[in-house]
Symmetry: C2
Amino acid sequence: MKKAEDFSEWYNDIVEKANLTDKRYPVKGMNVWTPYGWKIMRAIDTNIREEFDATSHDEVCFPLLIPEDQFAKEKEHIKGFDTEVFWVTHAGLTPLDVRLLLRPTSETAMYPIFSLWVRSHADLPLKTYQIVNTFRYETKQTRAFIRVREIHFFESHTCHADFEDAERQVREDYEILERLAKRWCIPYKLLKRTDWDKFPGAAYTVGIDTVLPNGRTLQLGSIHQYMDNFSKPYEIKYEGEDGQHRYAHQTTFGMSERLVGAIVAIHGDDKGLVLPPEVATMQAVVIPVLAKGATEAVSQAARELAEEIRQAGIRTHLDERDLRPGAKYYDWELKGVPLRVELGIRDMEKGVVTLVRRDTGEKSLAHRKDAAGAVKDMLDKIAADLLTNAGSIMDASIVTVDSLDDLPDKFIRAGWCGTEECGHRIEDRTERNIIGTPVEGEGFKGMCVVCGKPTTTPVYIARAM
Amino acid sequence: MKKAEDFSEWYNDIVEKANLTDKRYPVKGMNVWTPYGWKIMRAIDTNIREEFDATSHDEVCFPLLIPEDQFAKEKEHIKGFDTEVFWVTHAGLTPLDVRLLLRPTSETAMYPIFSLWVRSHADLPLKTYQIVNTFRYETKQTRAFIRVREIHFFESHTCHADFEDAERQVREDYEILERLAKRWCIPYKLLKRTDWDKFPGAAYTVGIDTVLPNGRTLQLGSIHQYMDNFSKPYEIKYEGEDGQHRYAHQTTFGMSERLVGAIVAIHGDDKGLVLPPEVATMQAVVIPVLAKGATEAVSQAARELAEEIRQAGIRTHLDERDLRPGAKYYDWELKGVPLRVELGIRDMEKGVVTLVRRDTGEKSLAHRKDAAGAVKDMLDKIAADLLTNAGSIMDASIVTVDSLDDLPDKFIRAGWCGTEECGHRIEDRTERNIIGTPVEGEGFKGMCVVCGKPTTTPVYIARAM
């Protein structure tokens, strides 16, 4: 299956062949994390924990089940979710007095408790996060990592004294995201959702969107400013230094296992996965190229080489299986190991090792004496190149238009006056969605693609994956 | 509240004061993991991952929801659980065709998939584990970490070619457990459950039991030999080298958040928690003892000291709060930080630091130059002493009797002929449970406490927590 010919088929095929998940579990959209897929997900979780711990967020873990009455307190929120939650109605043989739902997201689990934790200005800001599974009854076609019903999910939830401090948190979230996305070599755009597409209960929603090879956008997560929309119904109030009681302002930041899907989709090629070094279980694989008469010498040298690279802090696998090198190359290319290190008798005689990049296939020689350093440098270069290339591809997929006629299957950018009326017209005429308006100014000058009014706001339009 | 006077009240009190969990969540038995409690739980999870990864187990993550028809395949198993599972009956507004239950444990989620993963002898042994939350509708009184309805849970599941290889796995599990329990300074006994008390579906069950200060036992986990009891209904079959198809033999090993409860209960004292260094978020806390005229010098020296200890790989907190030292001591004693390191102007003049052990309260001086080394040695000593002392207390709580009259509130050991009839008589007469018979021989020689037959098997009898 060729990525360029049928992206969707290619994606399903590569996920299966690389054994990232098992979709044969007998509940639709609930997949099994196999060891290899789970290791990638856990590496991503580790990155997230590092960044959020370093910015004074506390990890917590709230219960899965939410009582219906708690869930119903914020009216917009429940309207947004009531057709897509799973309901627990019985415990053992007993019907429950109050039905419980499986969290689709944790606002309504956390906020009754936040109202107990936040009493005084000294308790603010309250910065928490958790990494849990969430549940949504998706009715659209499911797809591994991208649209599933049990979703591995990260969510941070914060409370602040006022709107300005919550805005500072949103900006900190942008910075955290930038560092994380760089580790994962994922380009993205921050696009503020339209009012009719924001998260139920949010004052505003910023989507984190990337573009897939088929021109569709994939939302990787979102950052929400809630203002006091939730703190009022959930009574999250604090006493200020002046003795006055005020409602907290809140933000959230969420990302899901879609990150695994994005890594597969963006970096993978016709040979299989291409993992960014940061999330690769094995960053380098050492393969002894055995020759008759020198088998033991090469094996021994390969063991020493692997150990040396491992000692330099690089996750290294030594492949000593009794297979011909070509079969090994095939396996590790499919699994996306960023760098292959080959060592044969010729290399040993010359005092070199051969490095083969997974992303470009490029071969180079490194001095045996400095092999570990060369591997490290090459991994850094691979990471930088993956990000640059993916960024260029995303940029190239953005097409600015001044008419909605004959749109290509690209990420469309057009002028918008900002009115709801023209917004709906754009969506109706293109049969695509407005993904949002850029958070960062783009120096745009043009006219609304519907009403012709001059505007400095472009709108991004696409079909979402 | 005194531990020696009312253990049960003391336990609840200390859990609340040290802020390990928040029990105010509006669903009974489903508690919120607060940052401090969750850090301890995650440290335990990290230990578990290290040990299971090092013994070639692969981490996986299976779905939460199990279809009723899959759950019902092993008859004993479903009988054991059907009154204590939570049922999902609706998704959105739609009633489900097949009801889904929240996993109480994952045999019935995993084994339909294991039957796809295990095809040939080359796929064996299959060694997996996962760390997830499980759900049981407990009808008894709930207690933080010890009896809850949403349970943070570790479970390993393995498949083997035959009974002997599964038995080897059970022995490996004993070794893993011994290493883990040593890290947590928890003494335990491996007690084989009676046939009428084994896990539903198991061939035999070995409980991991410890004793609490009130004389009750606390089961920390269990190790099960399933033989082919599950592989037959779930069709986990493989083709042997001889071309014959055989059913796999299976084992499991499970432990839960009760480990946190055990650490609190066993090591804690009237001042608060006493954390084993391995699971302590902060292993050492450095406290500058400020004196008039030398504030900045002491603060600066304390910062350098804390950094030096941190650099030695010890999780170190520097408490620079504007509080008198006594208030700080109180806090860190409550939180169970294993070692306090005080630095005042006198210490500085003498070139020493003061170390204060949390477990014994003992003070000692260390040379400033070798402070990090002294802290490390002292933490090792604290860990060793915690285990030794807890072990002595457990041993002292075991009382061997030759009559069931006037039993003390202890962990009773008595001779048993091994028949079900005498076993039930023991339980009826004592109004306590047979916890089990020791896995390791104890050189016992005596007579059955009911029928008087000579026996070399002692039985352990207690009230379980």
